[in-house]
Amino acid sequence: MMSWIYILSYVALIGTAAVWLYGKARSMSVPFIGQGFWLSLITYLLSLWFGDAAWFIKLVLMFPLDIAVFVIALLLFNRFVSKSKVLFTVLAAVLLVVKFFVFDIAQKTYQKYQTSQTEQVSAKGELLADMAEGYAKAEFDALLDKYQASATVAFPRVNHPDRTQLDDYMTINLADETAGQWPDLMNELIENGLVDGVEANEVIQLSPEESNNAQPTAADYGLNDPGLQHLWGFKAMQMEELFKYLKDNNIQPKKVAKIAILDTGVDGDHEDIADNFISTNADYDQDKMGHGTHCAGIAAAVSNNGKGLASFSADNAFVKVTSIKVLSDWGGGTQQDVIAGIIQAADDGADVISMSLGGPSDDASQRAYTEAVQYANKAGAIVVVAAGNSDDNAAEYAPANAEGVITVSALDDQLRKAEFSNYITDVRMGIAAPGVNIYSTFPNNEYKFLSGTSMATPYVAGVLGLMKSLRPELTTEKAYQMLNNTGLSTPDEPQTGKLIQPAKLAAALQQAPLF
């Protein structure tokens, strides 16, 4: 549509200027020709500005060529207006052919070149299309048939479709035979008004290593938990290597480690938690908010039970999980409640204390938390805390900034810092784990996707539980040193710390000398 306005306005621009010259040569007054010229000029400039061509094309090729053609056409007209009109007509036609045909080919060639240089299309889904509202489905389906393509909803798990357009997106996959024709399909989708926008589903390569985009299946891990297909983090953490290592080497725990989830409570009867759950107090074993239950599932869901997800061992022999409720049913709490919870967990023999909570810090709160953490450390517990979700410095949040805690930032599925995650640059022991779109348990045998450093934290708590079961004497300092030494470097490592790698950690732990 915009291209037709551009062509018409440009022709009108030349036409009105020519008529004005003609009138001037004949000393005639042509009504409204001035207004027509200015209207054409404004329309032309707007159509050029909002046109689809790249800015490089517009500024370096289209606009200078337009000016040149305009000037030459008028000079010719002025020269021949009183002589050979036939010659002028021929020359003007030649100029317009050059402008709209030859140049158009050059432009398309350039754009194709650009596309081939910059876009590597995903083998999984070649195009990502924002479908137009009320698009003609029959026409869309016919186009898919023509290119032997199929379409699926790109983001099926948008919880709040009223806040985003992402629920309109479709991923379009082309057959191997037609995969190279994706630019043509893209053009047809646009020209037929089926999409508001469409783009190549680009492959983003973070490093020479393989992409982590492929969805894992339960079979990949030798487990039967159906929800494993949702756990992109398992692939990023190479969990299949962990399960293989534990099995192949017949690794047995020295003790069953206890992970305490200090949160909104935990639904201890959940089908995918119950067998790994130990009750500290019946009042803590309910969860109206769901947050604590979600965290508990990440750290210690029952693996290989045909339900939900899995955690850090296939046979569930290494860790148990318990709940200490320190947050209200609305998700808030006081520092006093949290410190009381740390103390209770330590006194009850927790090996790992996981706290997916926090708030802005001051000196007094940092000191108080540090005291409590030291108490827990002395009792043999390792304390893990979420970095926070404000895209701020974790050193300004408590208890993330307390001495003696391991502070956890969140990564997204491209292994970049989650946009919300606080950065751990200024805390002493920072590490990273998956924290975006994390699938886990929710009260009443439900499951849900949540995002936050809260979700990253129990991943670290889970692997620390495994470590403590293998080496009960493990201290926080030594545990962090090993997490860091075996962790995977990621693009935002200075802000996030390394991504935990449980298999490497388990192997290193078995080979490490006695602490």
Binding site: G331, G332, G333, G358, P360, N389, S390, Y397, P399
Partner: protein
């Protein structure tokens, strides 16, 4: 305390509402009325502190809304 800024929704941890003020400070409103639950809305609000030093949201400083005016 007076806060002037725009309403934001943070989806992490199940979601919470807050205000980002003109100095870019983040305030999590524990009782955001439904009338204000529109992202980008400019408000002037009178707030009071709440006894909630920590939360699962870990976003902004928690406050309770006492009175407000849409700007």
């Amino acid at each position: 305390m007076e806060i002037e800024g725009k309403i934001v929704y943070r989806p992490e941890e199940g979601g919470c509402w807050g205000i980002v003020d003109t100095q870019n400070k983040k305030w999590r409103v524990t009782n955001m009325p439904s009338a204000l639950q529109k992202e980008g809305l400019q408000v002037k609000a009178r707030t009071e502190n709440v006894q909630e030093a920590v939360s699962m949201f870990m976003w902004g400083r928690p406050v309770r809304l006492v009175d407000y005016q849409v700007v």
